[in-house]
Symmetry: C2
Subunit: 102 residues, 2 copies
């Protein structure tokens, strides 16, 4: 498998963020070819010690890094990436990597 | 489900890091009660644009945040957390959150 992790920093207006994210961004992202599983945080994103800088975390699973590269290059992937500018208020960190279960 | 994500910053000595991580830290972590799935990055951790500050990413899955809290409080969880000091050269970011598939 391979993963795309998105870590969204805490927005000034969490309600507006959540509304846009779930009603518009997620439906766009779910059209990305090759997407196998889409998991999002439910409730707060914390460290073991307490609060974190992040409002929401998403883990998108694909078959391989090649599949992620194809997904990011697709029209649907490009539209999803472009949509980030419509609702990300305080930054997002995107990480991609091949993964294995151990 | 619930997730614990560990993001390890790039160490000065990646070979030493990897040797300790896979031979000692992973076996310790796999003893943590309630751990359902342990995924690690295979190869480099990148952003869609290129390199990232991270050497390795791990995603540990549990049934719930309650299970993560119990896991972190267990003797095995405490031993795994204490072991971080034995090999983390450049910092690790730990994030915990309840998650749902959408």
């Amino acid at each position: 498998m391979a993963k795309l992790i998105a870590l969204y920093s805490k927005p000034a207006d969490p309600a507006a963020f959540d509304k846009y994210y779930f009603s518009t961004h997620v439906p766009l992202a779910k059209k990305i070819p090759g997407l196998q599983r889409y998991e999002v945080s439910a409730g707060s994103v914390n460290t073991p010690q307490g609060g974190s800088p992040y409002h929401l975390a998403a883990i998108l699973s694909f078959d391989s890094m090649e599949a992620i590269q194809q997904a990011l290059g697709s029209a649907e992937g490009q539209a999803t990436a472009a949509d980030l500018g419509n609702f990300v208020q305080a930054g997002v960190e995107l990480l991609v990597f091949d993964s294995k279960e151990i």
